[in-house]
């Protein structure tokens, strides 16, 4: 038997063609003998074994000669150098770079110069490129690069930086957790942030001043640090004053004093540093000053090179739970001023934390002398414990033929993800997470059984079921650890998943969890704050004035945006729903003037939910005992001092028994709104709407939204467009809607028409 292995003769042709010219810059032909069971196998063997070696050598050969037989030349366009001598010096340094064949200044203008550099071979080009980026002698900063043209700026900071030792004297503490304490603990970090804006300072150290200023100066001198900064912040006449002294360590001579006054110490410090920057730059044009710091004459270039200044770069604190909010609204602003004679174009800003880009901003052209502000919008926030970070803004722009860049820095406080600032209570909405799976599963399971009819509305019934089934041991109330924050408004809040996992929380944690449970089954909530405390309200299923259907007085409810909410004290773990309701109503009554409430759904529009997941659930479902849920209204009624109007009992009874109330609407002539409600509940809908419409026209806003909701549900039930239309026109529905305050319209739209109509339907 003969062998099946066969032999093939292969020709390998390769051709390299330049795209730009169509020139064939390399052509080669190689012959191989290949063996294998078939042609494909043989060729694959050749490709792997023989072709590789030859192809490798061929690629080396043509890539070496890829351009003009290996020769290259490039242009470096340099801005920020006003003296020809300095450009000549840079040219001289470029000539010295290993691999550079020649360099020549082909153009010099006060604000734009061009040097042409030539050489041979890719490796040498790489060396030149690296020198431009790193050489201290060249001190160039590349702002833009396209093909063989590099746009660089003379980097004054790199060329003339001087070491600085910075000291801050904190103000005397005025009490616990004051701003003074903050400066005492974080002052050096803040000072560093502001001083970083002065690129000619190389900050060697930044500390709180402990000993005398003289000893600090001597220490700097000993360590070869030529400059010392003493910063001080003091509270003065309701304002903050920051004073910064710049001193040479060699002779202790004060070379600059700068002051800044503002409403808060940070801004005061920022202003003082900016003033010092201006003083320093102007001083640099004076020979005596340059001499004192051992600067060459070309250091005067510094003032000519500036095209753009950052007038303001202010960012607040970052609360990671508000990242969705920051994406749209931003965390602060940056103000840029064009101080050059030309228009700055293509202005772009990259915001960075620890060299990682966290956001960007694009600004259209900035005309000469124009000031433009942009929001600082961040896409991502590094998570971590509370800490200070530097937020850098790398601003790039073009002006005429040159590309410019400016960096600015601002101190930023990044709080832990659980931190909240109570100066804006609405931000707690971002913690309320109804979409959390564990939350949804628990709440859905709880209301499966259905609410007892005694509670008059489905909303109250479901809220009572959730509370009664879940709000007991092992869930515990535990207060927050002692705050280490400088600001008494700063607090920590657990996400629902965290409270579920931990099985414990304080008032805000429990409020957030309970609100999440309610919202997860469609029960609208409100967050209610009183001094030092937070609790919640859950929708009653009635609009304001509809408390009568529960046969309860108005004071047991909280009215927000025209709807009635049942207040619930979330820390009442182990209590009945009636007790939690009464306790919360008591707080509302006692702190009536200092209570504020907002709808969670309204707050979400500004502060969307941030979701956090957890596997563990330390909440047990326990079937409520007979009567506990059913008797909620009776228990509340029994324990509460204030009573509902006498006729309310009949309305309530008719409501739960689905019968017409034993009440003649005419007898309610003194309470026209109640009459309208009674008419509605007796099925006389058109009369009810007309009654409400009359009141609405008479200026009773409450009647307007009662009528609106009634009409809305009437229309939906009839599904008869002509009748709806006629009814609407007859009762000036449009007028009624127009009379509703915007917050009520928002509430109706958010809650899908919560209120009397809901009950009727």
């Amino acid at each position: 038997m003969g062998s099946n292995i066969k032999s093939w003769f292969c020709v390998f042709n390769s051709k390299v063609i330049r795209v730009d010219s169509g020139d064939v810059i390399f052509a080669d032909s190689k012959n191989y003998t290949a063996t294998g069971l078939n042609a494909l196998q043989a060729i694959n063997t050749v490709v792997k074994k023989n072709m590789r070696k030859n192809a490798d050598a061929a690629v080396d050969q043509w890539s070496k000669n890829w351009s003009n037989e290996g020769k290259w030349n490039m242009d470096i366009i340099i801005t920020g150098v006003a003296q020809k001598t300095k450009i000549d010096q840079i040219n001289g340094e470029l000539k010295k770079v290993d691999g550079v064949k020649d360099a020549a200044v082909v153009m010099f203008k006060k604000d734009l110069s061009k040097i042409s550099v030539s050489g041979e071979g890719a490796a040498n080009y790489s060396k030149l490129r690296e020198a431009i980026d790193t050489s201290d002698k060249l001190s160039l900063r590349v702002n833009y690069e396209a093909g063989r043209v590099i746009h660089a700026e003379f980097d004054f900071g790199q060329a003339y930086s001087r070491g600085v030792a910075a000291y801050i004297t904190p103000p005397k503490s005025g009490g616990k957790k004051t701003m003074a304490d903050l400066i005492a603990s974080k002052g050096p970090d803040l000072l560093t942030s502001y001083l970083m804006n002065l690129e000619y300072f190389e900050i060697k150290e930044s500390e709180t001043l402990k000993g005398s200023k003289d000893s600090a100066v001597s220490e700097a001198k000993k360590n070869d640090v030529p400059l010392v900064v003493f910063a001080e912040v003091v509270e003065k006449d309701d304002e903050w004053l920051s004073v910064i002294d710049l001193i040479t360590s060699k002779d202790g001579k004060k070379i600059a004093v700068a002051k800044g006054t503002a409403g808060d110490p940070f801004e005061a410090m920022d202003k003082a540093v900016r003033t010092m920057d201006a003083t320093y730059r102007i001083s640099m044009t004076k020979p005596a000053f340059r001499k004192s710091l051992n600067f060459a004459n070309d250091a005067a270039t510094i003032t000519d090179s500036i095209k753009l200044t950052v007038d303001k770069f202010e960012v607040g604190q970052i609360f990671p739970s508000l990242v969705p909010y920051y994406r749209t609204k931003g965390i602060g602003s940056i103000t840029l001023k064009n101080i050059s004679n030309g228009t700055l174009k293509n202005v772009e800003i990259a915001f960075k934390i620890s060299d990682k880009v966290v956001g960007t901003a694009k600004i259209s052209d900035i005309a000469p002398n124009a000031v433009v502000a942009a929001d600082v919008k961040l896409d991502t926030i590094p998570e971590g414990k509370s800490e200070y970070a530097q937020l850098a803004a790398n601003i790039t722009f073009t002006t005429g033929e040159s590309y410019g860049r400016k960096d600015a820095y601002a101190p930023l406080v990044i709080h832990s993800r659980n931190t909240i600032d109570w100066s804006n209570p609405m931000t707690i909405a971002s913690f309320v997470d109804p979409s959390n799976k564990a939350v949804r599963d628990l709440a859905t399971h709880t209301i499966k059984k259905g609410a007892p009819k005694e509670l008059a509305t489905k909303q109250l019934g479901n809220a009572a079921l959730i509370f009664s089934s879940l709000w007991h041991t092992p869930l515990k109330y535990i207060s927050d650890p002692v705050s280490t924050s400088f600001d008494s408004n700063i607090d920590t809040v657990q996400f629902p998943a965290e409270t579920l996992s931990r099985g414990a929380g304080d008032c805000d944690d429990l409020t957030v969890l309970l609100a999440s449970l309610f919202e997860s089954v469609g029960l609208a909530t409100v967050i209610i704050t009183s001094p030092g405390h937070v609790f919640l309200g859950v929708e009653s299923g009635s609009l304001a004035g509809g408390n009568v259907i529960f046969n309860l007085p108005q004071s047991l409810f909280v009215e927000v945006d025209g709807a009635l909410f049942i207040p619930v004290e979330a820390t009442s773990i182990g209590s009945s729903f009636a007790e939690a309701w009464l306790k919360a109503a008591d707080i509302v009554k006692k702190s009536a003037n200092s209570i504020s409430a907002f709808r969670t759904r309204e707050a979400w529009k500004s502060y969307p939910v941030t979701s956090v997941n957890s596997d563990k659930v330390s909440l047990n479902f326990v079937e409520p005992k007979d009567g506990v849920v059913k008797n909620v209204l009776a228990d509340v009624r029994k324990s509460y001092k204030d009573k509902a109007p006498v006729w309310a009992e009949s309305i309530h009874k008719s409501k739960i028994e689905h019968k017409n109330p034993d009440i003649k609407p005419e007898t309610l002539s003194k309470e026209p709104l109640a009459k309208s409600v009674a008419l509605w509940l007796t099925g006389k809908r058109e009369e009810a709407i007309t009654e409400a419409a009359n009141l609405c026209s008479g200026g009773t806003v409450e009647a307007c939204y009662n009528m609106t909701v009634m009409s809305m549900y009437d229309a939906l039930e009839r599904s008869d467009l002509q009748t709806i239309d006629a009814n609407m026109t007859k009762n000036n529905y449009g007028e009624a809607v127009a009379m509703l305050p915007p917050n009520v319209i928002n509430m109706l739209s958010d809650n899908g028409g919560l209120g009397m109509g809901d009950e009727a339907s």
Binding site: F9, C10, S14, V19, S21, G147
Partner: protein, 113 residues
């Protein structure tokens, strides 16, 4: 034993105009393999060449990218009135021909967009 005459053709198009550094060349790889005049799958050759080229810091790009760059290169040359010595009217004409022949056989025509 029978000998077959097989031909393996590898065409490399070099996209060098926009390379920022000499070490950063862009390459379009157009391999074509025929055995007895019949075209075969050239994936193995492409893989092998791609590995060699990327090992030398060259970037493999799509043909469409190279053709766009080619158009841009031409525009820049025309704007600056800088023509390479070997730039000919015929070459320019070729640049506006359809790209089909580029892929099929010889590199002789160029697409404008």
């Amino acid at each position: 034993m029978r000998n077959f005459f097989s031909m393996v053709t590898v065409v490399l198009m070099m996209f060098c105009y926009f390379s920022i550094q000499a070490v950063d060349l862009r390459i379009v790889l157009l391999p074509k393999m025929t055995v007895d005049g019949k075209e075969y799958d050239s994936a193995s050759i492409e893989t092998e060449m791609a590995s060699i080229l990327t090992g030398k810091n060259m970037r493999i790009v799509e043909l469409s990218t190279a053709l766009k760059a080619q158009k841009a290169a031409l525009q820049i040359s025309l704007r600056k009135e800088r023509f390479r010595p070997n730039f000919r009217y015929l070459t320019l004409m070729h640049w506006f021909q359809p790209s089909l022949p580029v892929i099929k056989t010889q590199i002789q025509s160029w697409e404008a967009t």
